[in-house]
């Protein structure tokens, strides 16, 4: 006997069902309340009738993955009942902020808006990928935003893990379905070939979203069947600037890099993509940025023929999690000794040797108190900033890093540790390298910045100290 579908007003396991939110072929979703949980909730019921195993397996998958995810970029898991229960369900935090789909009415968006949204989603993906999960269904309907206390768009939250892949759990979707599963306009070429274990698939899908936000069009249209989805393996989209010349070359560079067919030609990971979206000056322009039209028919034909000859994207190895980190080096050129500067440089050089995909952000903090006196704040601030940038560049010159791999930033704040920590958090920094304050008198008075950063950072921190000689 097919079970009855739950209805508004019913109470199941203590969850009282409120307004129905979505009714798809796979599940019914309701707003809900529970006396033990004071946050807004949603509860999802898989449809049990019918013979299609897809939605049952998707539900099982989401039920396995969601409780294992943490952080602001996923809805908090609240409770679940499996198929052994009379009524299986999955209950989670309801994200009250806006859905990205609601933006689609006002396309195209301004460049600043595109990059702000894109960077937030890329950071959410980075957080997800660090937890070994690829979402594999990134599209506007699955992207929500938390609301900040002042009503602004806060952290991006990715919902719906029914098609996701967890690197340490059996992949029920891959086992059950030989056909690729996902949303046709946003699906990566790898997914279209049945590959589910490469997190860079999500970068492709985000590239489609960025393209859509920036141009108002979908790069590959809305194909209705798989053969049409696979066209994106050889047929490149119109460059965004052709559709909308206002798109700056660096944004076209970012978007077309996301849409590369070969995952290894995309950004090495989501954090680096977020970094570029937030730091346009850090984008290294390639012929992608200047591309004015789609590739000619001969190139496309060649790609298609070559594709038939090779076993497909499966031959590519997915990158390891830590092969392309963002490394922030914090420098205090005023107080640090030359020996310390050299030691930091040596330490950074060692890290870079083993990680050719790493990106370096050189940071210096301009403390609020530094700018004093009667001169207009702006003038003095600007010249101090320019001077510090020059000093950072000079320090890093011996590393010989090409443009795009290293950037320079002067942060401002009343506390060096706070400014560095905020930067590390907001930019998905994987590793902070900084010097220890050598002068013990100052350390006693001011406290240890490196100690505070090491204690509170969301990532690894290397504290470098120049070995004292003599003494």
């Amino acid at each position: 006997m097919a079970p009855r579908r739950p209805r508004q007003g019913e109470t199941i396991d203590g969850f009282t069902l409120g307004t129905p939110m979505r009714e798809s072929g796979m599940a019914s979703v309701f707003e809900a309340t529970h006396p033990d949980h004071q946050i807004p909730l949603v509860i999802k019921f898989p449809h049990l009738e019918g013979t299609d195993a897809a939605h049952i397996v998707s539900f099982e998958m989401e039920q396995m993955i969601l409780p294992r995810l943490t952080g602001p970029h996923v809805p908090r898991f609240v409770g679940a009942a499996g198929f052994e229960a009379p009524q299986p369900y999955l209950a989670m935090e309801r994200i009250t902020g806006p859905n990205l789909e609601s933006c689609l009415r006002h396309l195209p968006l301004a460049t600043e808006e595109v990059t702000a949204v894109g960077a937030k989603v890329a950071l959410a993906l980075a957080a997800l990928h660090r937890q070994r999960v690829s979402h594999l269904d990134v599209k506007p309907a699955n992207i929500l935003f938390r609301e900040t206390p002042d009503g602004l768009r806060g952290d991006a939250v990715l919902i719906d893990y029914g098609l996701a892949h967890h690197g340490r759990l059996p992949d029920l979707i891959a086992e059950e379905f030989r056909l690729p599963y996902g949303s046709a306009p946003y699906m990566s070429p790898g997914q279209a070939m049945g590959r589910r274990d490469d997190p860079r698939s999500d970068l492709f899908s985000l590239g489609v979203v960025l393209y859509q936000l920036a141009t108002g069009q979908l790069p590959f249209g809305e194909p209705l069947h798989l053969a049409a989805v696979r066209r994106r393996l050889w047929r490149d989209p119109h460059p965004p600037r052709r559709l909308r010349p206002e798109v700056p070359p660096w944004l076209q560079e970012i978007i077309l890099r996301c849409l590369e067919v070969e995952p290894s030609r995309r950004h090495p990971n989501a954090a680096q993509l977020a970094f570029e979206l937030r730091n346009p000056e850090a984008v290294r322009l390639t012929p992608r940025a200047a591309k004015a039209r789609r590739d000619g028919w001969l190139t496309v034909l060649e790609r298609r023929v070559n594709l038939d000859r090779t076993p497909g994207p499966r031959r590519l190895a997915a990158p390891t999690a830590h092969s392309a980190p963002i490394i922030a080096v914090a420098l205090d050129m005023r107080e640090g000794s030359p020996a310390l500067s050299e030691a930091i440089l040596a330490s950074l050089r060692n890290v870079l040797l083993s990680l050719p995909g790493a990106r370096v952000a050189c940071l210096n903090v301009l403390l609020d108190g530094f700018i004093t006196g009667d001169t207009p704040h702006d003038d003095q601030g600007r010249s101090a900033r320019v001077q510090r940038l020059a000093e950072l560049r000079h320090w890093a010159a011996p590393l010989g890093l090409e443009e795009g791999r290293i950037t320079f930033h002067v942060l401002e704040g009343s506390s060096a540790a706070d400014a560095l920590l905020e930067y590390a958090e907001a930019n998905g920094v994987d590793h902070v390298v900084m010097g220890a304050r050598a002068n013990s008198m100052l350390r006693t008075v001011l406290g240890s910045v490196s100690g505070e950063v090491a204690g509170r950072a969301p990532c690894s921190v290397t504290v470098v100290r120049a070995r004292e000689t003599g003494a």
């Binding site: 195993a53 049952i56 397996v57 099982e60 039920q63 396995m64 499996g82 198929f83 052994e84 690197g167 340490r168 759990l169 059996p170 029920l172 086992e175 059950e176």
Partner: protein
């Protein structure tokens, strides 16, 4: 929480490291999946330890090496048979008699514990791939089957659509054994791992969450290997412990 230990193979160092680990992890019950003896140099100590745990409520079943002690070594490789011959002289009459009392399988609710392929436990067949797992699924009604014998951790699933799937678990990662399908969990070996990782392997089953966690426990391989050499057992039984092959 149930600790499941298989293929101890007279490796005292590995067994005591795993038991310590499981005790610290909060295991309240113990199930031993057989092959307490053979290959290693401490059969008497290992059997005494298992018997002691049984006195405190643990469950133990029979493995093919245990059976060979009293039923003969036909079908065994040369070095396995050599180790059994040596082991017989090490065991007290009590210990040898204890082996004879062990059952071939143990069922608890919808879970079956067995040493090898559950469709014919006495045939001692390996379960190494989806095809062999299917034979096991078809030959016994348990929803969850837990076995050893292969010395390589694996998790096989049988879906509602009758598809048999294989998964290589990563250590210390809880994997939910969802009720929507049947499962066959193959333990790694405590005393002679063969999946390239020399650390001892056992598993923890959380009955409340129905999650299985394969654990890897580093142990004093050096000592275990030295004892094998001193006992005059085949050299390869000592060297393979270092590489876990």
């Amino acid at each position: 929480m149930i600790a499941i230990l298989s293929d101890i193979h007279a490796n005292r160092e590995a067994l005591s490291a795993c038991l310590d680990h499981a005790d610290r992890a909060g295991a309240t019950r113990f199930v031993f999946l057989g092959d307490y003896v053979g290959y290693g140099a401490d059969p008497a100590w290992c059997l005494r330890t298992v018997m002691d745990r049984i006195a405190h409520g643990a469950v133990a079943i029979l493995g093919n090496h245990d059976q060979a002690i009293f039923a003969g070594t036909q079908g065994m490789t040369g070095r396995a048979a050599a180790a059994i011959a040596w082991t017989r002289d090490q065991l007290s009459p009590d210990a040898a008699a204890f082996l004879k009392t062990l059952p071939m399988e143990h069922a608890e609710g919808d879970t079956l514990y067995v040493h090898a392929d559950a469709s014919a436990p006495g045939d001692w067949r390996y379960v190494t791939n989806a095809e062999e797992a299917r034979r096991s699924f078809e030959g016994n009604p348990a929803r969850v089957t837990i076995c050893g014998h292969v010395h390589v951790p694996r998790l096989f699933g049988l879906t509602a659509a009758d598809k048999c799937t294989a998964f290589a678990p990563t250590h210390d990662s809880p994997i939910p054994l969802s009720r929507a399908r049947r499962w066959l969990a193959v333990m790694g070996a405590v005393g002679q791992p063969r999946d390239g990782d020399p650390a001892a392997c056992y598993a923890l089953l959380d009955e409340e969450t129905a999650e299985m966690r394969w654990m890897r426990v580093p142990y004093d391989v050096e000592t275990a290997a030295t004892k094998i050499r001193r006992a005059g057992l085949p050299e390869s039984l000592a060297t393979r412990l270092f590489s876990g092959t």
